[in-house]
Symmetry: C2
Subunit: 140 residues, 2 copies
DNA sequence: TATATTGTTGCAACTAAGATGCAAAAGTAA
DNA sequence: TTACTTTTGCATCTTAGTTGCAACAATATA
């Protein structure tokens, strides 16, 4: 499917109006395999206000279009959600993230089972986030 | 051992001069079981310049006194290192962190083995960070 | 296809986080 | 006590993120 059409489809499905900034931002996510920071996007789309970008990322996250990819750095990064995610629930509890030491890109890794970590004495575990680091496919 | 003496000992061991700000900051780490953010410390020690705090945290980290505790939030938190850590190497690769959903405190968890995560196809894994969340001992 | 309605954008203005240069002050060793 | 070196605190700057608001754009519906 053409990338434009796919963007429109996603925005419509999540009840977001189709606007120029949203289309270009979403296009960035669809055309990059790695998670993107606010800054990454700002550098790629020059004709967009940074406040709009903040707000777009926030509403994308709220509507289940993107999710924060925890990668151990201080700069938040965002990545596309699975199509099953919605305003009400994100459904990728069990995927992990990989940060490349060389290119510094962060990737969502689907299809690797998250092991159950034995709960430390006295703690009640509800969730597990795993961040791997090392060399990505390109940098190996 | 008196807490003052312990602070002095740690600073001397790591080749850091004993100064008033360093003593009070280190005292905070020794007297709290949870990881502390810049802000946590600033609120507790009122007579210290925030720039000095930034620089102290940085040199503590460089000298192996504290380490960054990855906890999935955007605010960096720091926790005491094991005594085996040094300027040249941190030796707590294999401990994990727990963030409490209720009190928002982050704890280092020693003594829970970090499982080997199967490496995703094409990636070369060098390290694993695990962050658990749920309820801590106090909040359970 | 024009209009009403509502959501979105971009700007200004603000707050918070963090870094750097530098002179004065403090710690250490002789 | 002095000489040497590190550390501190201040001023200043940069970057990150938030909020209020008027103008504007997207959609619905007549
Ligand atoms: Mn992800
Ligand atoms: Mn730790
Ligand atoms: Zn890479
Ligand atoms: Zn708690």
């Amino acid at each position: 499917m053409a990338i434009q059409l796919e963007c429109e489809k996603i925005l419509k499905e999540r009840g977001l109006r189709i606007t120029k900034p949203r289309m270009s931002i979403l296009e960035q996510f669809l055309s990059h395999p790695n998670a993107l920071s606010h800054n990454d996007i700002e550098e790629k789309i020059l004709d967009i206000d940074r406040i709009t970008l903040y707000r777009t990322l926030k509403s994308f996250e709220e509507k289940g279009v993107i999710h924060k990819a925890i990668d151990g750095t201080d700069k938040p990064k965002y990545a596309l959600c699975e199509s099953s995610c919605s305003e009400h629930a994100h459904h990728h509890d069990s995927h992990l993230h990989f940060r490349c030491d060389d290119c510094n890109h962060t990737f969502c890794i689907e299809g690797v089972a998250i092991p159950a970590i034995p709960a430390p004495e006295g703690y009640h575990v509800k969730g597990t986030d795993i961040v791997l680091n090392g060399l990505c496919k390109n940098c190996s």
